[in-house]
Symmetry: none
Subunit: 526 residues, 2 copies
Amino acid sequence: MGKIVVLDTTLRDGTQGEGISLSVEDKLKITVKLDALGIPYIEGGWPGSNPKDIEYFQRVQKLSLQQAKITAFSSTRRPGISVEEDSNIQELLKAGTPAVTLFGKSWDLHVVQALNTTLEENLAMIKDTVSFFKAAGREVIYDAEHFFDGYKSNSQYALTTIRAAADAGADWVVLCDTNGGMLPSEIGEIVTVAGENVSVPLGIHAHNDGDLAVANSLQAVASGAQMVQGTINGLGERCGNANLCSIIPNLELKMGDSCLPENNLSLLTETAHYVSELANLAQQSQQPFVGMSAFAHKGGIHVSAVTKNPATYEHMDPQLVGNKRRVLVSELSGVSNLKYKAQELNIELPLETPESREIIKRIKELEHKGFQYEGAEASLELLLRKALNQYQDYFQLESLKVIMEKRENMGITSEAMIKLKVGTETVHTAAEGNGPVNALDNALRKALEEFYPDIKNIHLSDYKVRVLDEKDATGATVRVLIETMDQESSWNTVGVHENIIEASWQALTDGITYALYKKDHQQSTQ
Amino acid sequence: MGKIVVLDTTLRDGTQGEGISLSVEDKLKITVKLDALGIPYIEGGWPGSNPKDIEYFQRVQKLSLQQAKITAFSSTRRPGISVEEDSNIQELLKAGTPAVTLFGKSWDLHVVQALNTTLEENLAMIKDTVSFFKAAGREVIYDAEHFFDGYKSNSQYALTTIRAAADAGADWVVLCDTNGGMLPSEIGEIVTVAGENVSVPLGIHAHNDGDLAVANSLQAVASGAQMVQGTINGLGERCGNANLCSIIPNLELKMGDSCLPENNLSLLTETAHYVSELANLAQQSQQPFVGMSAFAHKGGIHVSAVTKNPATYEHMDPQLVGNKRRVLVSELSGVSNLKYKAQELNIELPLETPESREIIKRIKELEHKGFQYEGAEASLELLLRKALNQYQDYFQLESLKVIMEKRENMGITSEAMIKLKVGTETVHTAAEGNGPVNALDNALRKALEEFYPDIKNIHLSDYKVRVLDEKDATGATVRVLIETMDQESSWNTVGVHENIIEASWQALTDGITYALYKKDHQQSTQ
């Protein structure tokens, strides 16, 4: 029933997950998004471990964040040297963050076997490192690695390590279930004992190896922890870290605690999907709270009951986390969703007319093929406006040809030829590119520039491709998402086809058509 | 610390999940697999709801199972009619199973709003239906739907419903968190009270809407429940049912209970993957206990510690659940990962020699370009063996050309031409495909088949593509991951390039080269 402080480590521990790799650009974008959600601490990386993280900490200082404190991660100093001699520690200092997360050993086994040092030296390492950063004016979050395993192996020593951190001035002592194998009952018992041993506020950092990371985090809070560390969507090594997308709504909606600024919880679903998009991971549709299926009703009994009273088969109102109810295979849900969307786009959609029914049917067909308009609203807007005869095509394809060629020991070349009709004129041109889609994009722009000079000011800013039904291998359907931008804004379009070039063509032409439509529309309203 | 009875409802509640559909054949195969795992109760379906389930119950009787009891599911009789008049009940009887699962209402809101009947009639429905099946000589598992919500709304009524079932002779009373929103603390408290009110053994049936289904099931057992219902991989409506693949190992390995016959726990991973395969779902690699990444180590520190003592970063021995340790070679990893990997591949890697330093340098360069070997171990193996001169190329590219063409209002066509040198011969051929990569794959196979007839037995089984540094849009680097398989196994390869066709070519040729190498190697060791 209090304020619980959240530390997000998606950018650090989350990137340890298999197949996860984020560019510096991605990490900065996610930082902004987490700040907008209202996460108070964002652990950005481990500056001592790689140059990418060093660059991140330089660039993150230039962002103007609303509330988040950035924290950088490192271990305590190495055995047998001073903090001044330890390059990791010096990199951490240079990162220049207001807070640092220092992890140290609590488990005697680890001290002896993994660090090859003595129990006494480990205590000195903790004390020296915490003191060093406190003297440098930093907030210190001390992560007691393997605290629970350590406690079960040698409780006195484990408690001594966290007392050492607290005595040296750590602002937080965070108890870590690093191997992720604890039961909630063990967490409850050990957190309680730890709370009797140190007077600084405690935190919990859980991993999901036993499928219990969320329950373990909630149990730690119930037993007195005031900070929860975790990641968006539970990204992280092995089975992942504790999933903040489940912990935050449980704390706020079920346990009466508060984590985010008021009204921000409804940004949760959007944030979760954004992180998946940037990490190029499919959002798990079954994911609690934020998944596409989390409030989807399939069974007929459920649907009719939910229509009478949502509480019959929903544990909470999906809007509270920014998600929505979906009634599968139901024309009714289609109309209301579409109506909602059209309103958002300022399009007047005549309901219950043959046109609107036709539009809904068309969208259903396209979604069945794999189109997804959640991340491609410009394509949806074009589809609606076209159906309502609100614009004419700006050009028509007569033919296109893409040729790639590669010879022994030489690079591959890509060329595209394109023939378009623009009004009554025909244009036929060609261009190269460093890949087939790039060549096609270059040829399309080249063909249109003389008719629509504004095209010079727009450019492709993002290109994503995802293979749907992966089991069909190279014969599978491909979805392409493209982001296009001008000086003022950006918009997203989608294409779906078995052939990646056709899918890209659909998204490319939508992206350019949207730019031209937007330009026309602005002029007419000025 | 006792025997916990597991009821698997993958075939009934599991199939309510979005996108899940199992044929009768699939359901029978899964029944056999669950029986082999040692699951004592298998809920096969709802005979009153569809003809497929009726057929299942006819055919399942002909299987000779080792230990599993099959149970069929239905609701209590409808309001206002007798059990004899209720077609659902009659279908359930006809299913001829030794046990039946009957679900009834515990929540006053549901009785009144969803069933449109009175609280008294609901009690009569429970009593009549349970008595009917007991009189017919069946074991009765009574599922108290929404028991926890019902208890929170009207505890006296909820308790009265389960006493009605128990008094009518039910063998089990299973408390259901149908909406999946309970906290473990609530489960513990309410199960305890229920245990004081009925003397038949209790069970738990949890859903995962709060990401707590596993914890809730374990808590119910700790509070006295003796049966756990759930599904393999947590399949089920919305966020799924409680995941038996997590519950069973937690009960057996952490809580000291027993669920399966001795030594059967090691069949768990195989069973989980089998069900995913038949349901045509990708097995979640992060899934606790049974996922591919569940015991995968990426960070260099973790790897060197795990090599010294697995307990340092593993909460249990992966072999106990039939899974295995994997060491990932990634940008975060060091020499120790590579050494471990080479050992696993039976490659003797001379450490601290110019060759090995050259290999490590080469891998780092490739990783910097965007190669990622953690999901492409066959490419890594080829790279190592090539560096150590352990194989020669099976073919050389002279030239390739891919042409895609599209005309107004017509589909897009893709063709590939390819010229290869195989030994002293040259082969020049062409093929079509439904996309450029598919055309290239077809042409490559066609060219090689006459030289290596075994190529007919291998095929591409998965194709993934990811755009790296997306801000460079269509000029960005692309990473392609390909899975190739023969009758016995599958392997993964990777390609990275600005041009998707070049990247695909790299992964395709690695996939085929690996197949040919493997074949040669098998022959030479026979």
